[in-house]
């Protein structure tokens, strides 16, 4: 019996030492981890919107539209006199070959695409993953809902699909279209209605 108690105490001691060590490491790495979490989003926004300067303010908000019930996270990039410089939206599609694809989509004030940046996807390496290459991405530049059909050429749209990755290309089209629709629904001049915005908070 006595032996057992000693054993349990020893195990307990090891656990206590380990817990202290971990909480110490945790307190050191806490800040860098927070930064790393935000860094990815910031990097994505910077890569889809050209010429962002450090003085600009990025506000994040959740948006819905008449057809979308799941809110998308959008970012409003403002000049330092709080006029709008550009928008970007974190859109998604569930129709990728390997499931969900999420992308950051950047547009200028006229809602023309300035860049897209796939964040999460599990497409087939070497085929579907070609969607991250500029060769595919560049065809969307300065396109908008009014001058581009976001369907692949096979379905009568304007997207030049990646060879042998039609499903991925189709999904990307759907993803971009969803993002653009939500942005235009919420922000396009004349239709702007602050009540449609679910929640606006300062970063």
């Amino acid at each position: 019996m006595k032996e057992n108690i000693v054993q349990v105490i020893k195990l307990f001691l090891v656990a206590v030492v380990s817990a202290f060590l971990l909480s110490y490491v945790h307190s050191i790495t806490k800040e860098p981890i927070e930064k790393a979490k935000n860094a990815e989003i910031t990097e994505a926004i910077k890569s889809v919107i050209p010429n962002i300067s450090d003085q600009m303010i990025i506000k994040d908000t959740f948006l819905v539209s008449d057809v979308e019930s799941i809110p998308l996270k959008a970012y409003i990039i403002q000049n330092n006199d709080s006029t709008v410089y550009a928008y970007s939206v974190l859109s998604y599609t569930k129709k990728g070959y390997g499931g969900t694809i999420t992308m950051m989509i950047g547009v200028d004030k006229e809602f023309k695409i300035t860049g897209i940046y796939p964040l999460e996807f599990s497409e087939t390496p070497g085929l579907g993953t070609k969607m991250t290459k500029n060769k595919f991405k560049d065809q969307f530049l300065s396109k908008s809902l009014s001058n581009f059909k976001f369907k692949v050429d096979k379905d009568g749209g304007d997207i030049q699909a990646i060879t042998s990755a039609t499903i991925t290309s189709r999904a990307v089209g759907e993803c971009i279209e969803r993002g653009l629709k939500v942005l235009e629904y919420n922000f396009k001049i004349g239709e702007t209605d602050s009540s449609k915005t679910v929640e606006v908070k300062d970063e």
Binding site: E3, V6, Q7, V8, K10, L11, V14, A15, S18, L21, L22, V25, H26, T29, K30, E31, P32, I33, K35, A36, K37, A39, E40, T124, P125, G126, L127
Partner: protein
């Protein structure tokens, strides 16, 4: 000094944790899609392996025999969590691409296996060497595997393009089946070398015997 090299060589070739002991297959196969990930994984695992070997061998007399395994698991899990947090904070990209396989170092059979089989019975210095040797063996295997897979399957090495744009890579190598096929071939290749070595050894002994015989006959 000779002893040190022997210990390290033991981990790298004679008792290579992956190819000979058949331990730690999961991370080896999963993160060997690019050389970059492979190196990151190998360093993370080696750090855990070496530090847990050191700690376990230094507390081996304090730990009661019956409580051995839970104590080992706590020690290993502590170091794994440290690696996890540090990578997340300072190398977030690597952390993301290694994903669930960082916490899974805890159940990597190499680590617990060496703790149980070696560190719990030997002194601190030897355990340190054992951990380092095993870590290097793991590093070598996973890097070789990743090199083959990345070069064949993606046409790149450390992310740098090797063959120009016209090269269309054999994608299967970086897909899951490619991992199994490549390591199977590596395993076969290693066996082949070992078998050849053994045959050569046999031949040499035979020749020595024969030459001894002829010498005797001459006498």
């Amino acid at each position: 000094m000779n002893n040190v090299f022997k210990k390290l060589f033991n981990g790298i070739w004679t008792n290579n944790p992956v190819l000979v002991l058949l331990l730690g297959f999961c991370p080896t196969l999963a993160v060997s899609t690019t050389v970059n990930n492979a190196v990151g994984m190998a360093f993370a695992a080696t750090f855990v392996l070496v530090s847990s070997n050191i700690v376990i061998s230094s507390i081996r007399k304090f730990v009661p025999n019956k409580m051995r395994i839970p104590v080992f698991i706590i020690v290993i899990a502590t170091f794994v969590t440290i690696v996890d947090l540090v990578l997340y904070g300072y190398l977030p990209k690597l952390h993301k691409s290694l994903g669930v396989f960082i916490p899974l170092i805890v159940v990597n059979c190499i680590v617990l296996g060496r703790a149980e089989a070696f560190a719990s019975k030997n002194n601190v210095f030897d355990s340190f060497l054992d951990g380092l040797g095993m870590g290097l063996g793991f590093l070598l295997t996973i890097v070789v595997l990743a090199t083959i897979r990345e070069v064949i399957g993606n046409g790149t090495f450390f992310g740098k393009n090797l063959f120009g744009l016209s090269y269309s890579p054999a994608i299967v190598a970086i897909l899951p089946p490619g991992a199994f096929l490549t390591i199977g071939l590596l395993l076969g290749g290693m066996n082949f070398i070992n078998i050849k070595n053994k045959e050569r050894e046999k031949m040499r002994k035979k020749l020595e015997k024969e030459s001894l015989k002829t010498q005797k006959e001459v006498k």
